[in-house]
């Protein structure tokens, strides 16, 4: 899966879980300030990513993740290289 495909999936998850417009979900968007996502919403969002991408994201890996692009980086690093 390339970054664009992954981003499309991530955006769908954000729209579904965070109840935001797709247009608001950009790589630069900040979860807290721009997407109005508090810590529990972020956990829900990560759960949705885990399910969509079949990956596991321990809580400590979320430290410092404040923007959508960083979450995408995290997902890309966990996806099998061949996929």
């Amino acid at each position: 899966m390339d970054r664009n495909e992954a981003f499309a999936q991530l955006r769908e998850a954000a729209v579904e879980v965070l109840h935001v417009d797709a247009s608001a979900v950009t790589e630069d968007a900040r979860f807290k300030e721009d997407l109005d996502a508090d810590s529990l919403a972020l956990i829900e969002f990560v759960m949705a990513l885990e399910e969509r991408f079949d990956i596991s994201v321990p809580e400590e890996e979320l430290d410092g993740v404040t923007r959508v692009g960083q979450a995408l980086d995290l997902v890309m690093a966990k996806l099998p290289a061949s996929a």
């Binding site: 529990l40 829900e44 809580e59």
Partner: protein
């Protein structure tokens, strides 16, 4: 590895007989597994401390606000006992209310199960104090499974009633969590409250396709994560001492976000398993009574299961998380409000420290005169 089970690969197996009849909810509305363990609710009762602590009250003590707490938890206030009051005080009041509703005397019960994780004291059992107050000498024991405790108790009670070990069981869920709260911890302080609720349970008629009782259930534990939530001191490993007192080891510690994640996953998977085993679809459920830990957990679970808010009983805004008391307290209020009738399918699901979970699908059968509003434990008693 992920410690929480994903749907279809849960770690705890259902009762083998139930697993045999398991099928997908594709048969929605057309197939319901026969009742496996007959159980009827002879009476229901609840009890709450008089003192209300609102979010505004908490905001005077720690750095928080009503808005912050409501947004993250759904809780607006909780009940808190007065100094010197214990879990058994609430348990006894709730027990008496349930017995009255059932039209029974305490002497009519032959089993007393108290589910609590906040005993009056380390020894003896809280059931001892309840038995003393009720003046009963029947088999009496505490059952500890934290917020899943009452569902564990329900399944165990039903099993005892079916096997003849008991004919009339008083199942109490009671907690005083307020005394475990770190007064300086803004993350746990708003979440928990005190309360109790009780049910008189009887075996009823033999199990049949439409008879009241447990259709399917799932009790389990994700023990790999058991350190996420607990009270580290005051037990045998770290007995109370000046050092444990100084480091606050006697207060509850919780890694809330990870508990949240595991709760959503485990409860969803467990409910799916139980609904599947009962051949029941979400639309068939008259009432879903989830453990009232955090409205956000329930908000996440309900749509995942295809349930609606209308099917779901919530009272967390008034009581916070009362652990083993939360499900029977909610059930009691739902019954008093006429939200459940004989023959209805009711799904109850608890999840908490351990990390334990307990889910049960039951066909409702109630013989009481109608549960009254929760009794009040006066602060000056």
């Amino acid at each position: 590895m992920k410690a929480s089970p994903s749907p279809g690969c849960g770690r705890s197996d259902l009762h083998p007989r139930v697993t045999v009849v398991a099928r997908e909810p594709a048969a929605r509305g057309t197939y319901v597994a026969p009742t496996r363990l007959p159980v009827r609710f002879g009476g229901l009762g609840a009890a709450l401390p008089e003192q209300r602590v609102t979010n505004a009250d908490l905001a005077k003590r720690v750095d928080t606000s009503d808005e912050w707490i409501v947004e993250r938890t759904g809780i607006r206030e909780r009940r808190v006992v007065a100094a010197g009051q214990g879990t058994s005080d609430l348990a006894v009041l709730a027990a008496r209310a349930a017995l009255t509703d059932a039209g029974l005397a305490a002497a009519d019960i032959d089993t007393l199960l108290v589910t609590t994780c906040t005993p009056d004291q380390p020894l003896p059992s809280t059931a001892s104090f309840v038995a003393r107050a009720l003046e009963v000498r029947c088999q009496s024991v505490d059952l500890v499974a934290a917020c899943a405790g009452w569902v564990y108790g329900l399944v165990n009670a039903a099993s005892m009633l079916s096997s003849g070990v008991s004919t009339t069981t008083l199942l109490v869920g009671a907690e005083v969590l307020s005394t475990w709260m770190d007064p300086a911890d803004r993350t746990t302080l708003p979440l928990f409250g005190d309360g109790a609720a009780a049910a008189v349970l009887t075996g009823g008629t033999a199990a049949g396709p439409d008879s009241p009782g447990l259709i399917s259930w799932d009790l389990g534990i994700d023990a790999e994560a058991c350190d996420l939530l607990g009270v580290p001191a005051g037990g045998s490993r770290r007995p109370s001492s000046a050092a444990t007192l100084a480091d606050g080891g006697h207060y509850m510690k919780m890694q809330g976000q990870e508990v949240f994640r595991r709760a959503v996953r485990a409860v969803e998977a467990s409910c799916r398993k139980v609904l599947g085993a009962g051949g029941v679809g979400a639309a068939d459920i008259a009432l879903f009574v989830p453990h009232q830990a955090n409205a956000r957990i329930v908000d996440a679970i309900v749509p995942r299961l295809g349930l609606s808010a209308d099917q779901t009983m919530m009272n967390i805004e008034r009581y916070g998380n009362t652990s083993a008391a939360s499900i029977p307290l909610a059930l009691c209020e739902a019954a008093a409000a006429g939200r459940v009738s004989d023959g209805d399918l009711v799904l109850v699901a608890g999840f908490g420290a351990g990390m334990t979970w307990g889910t049960a699908l039951l066909r409702w059968g109630y013989d009481g005169s109608g549960p009254s509003s929760p009794r009040t434990l006066p602060a000056d008693l």
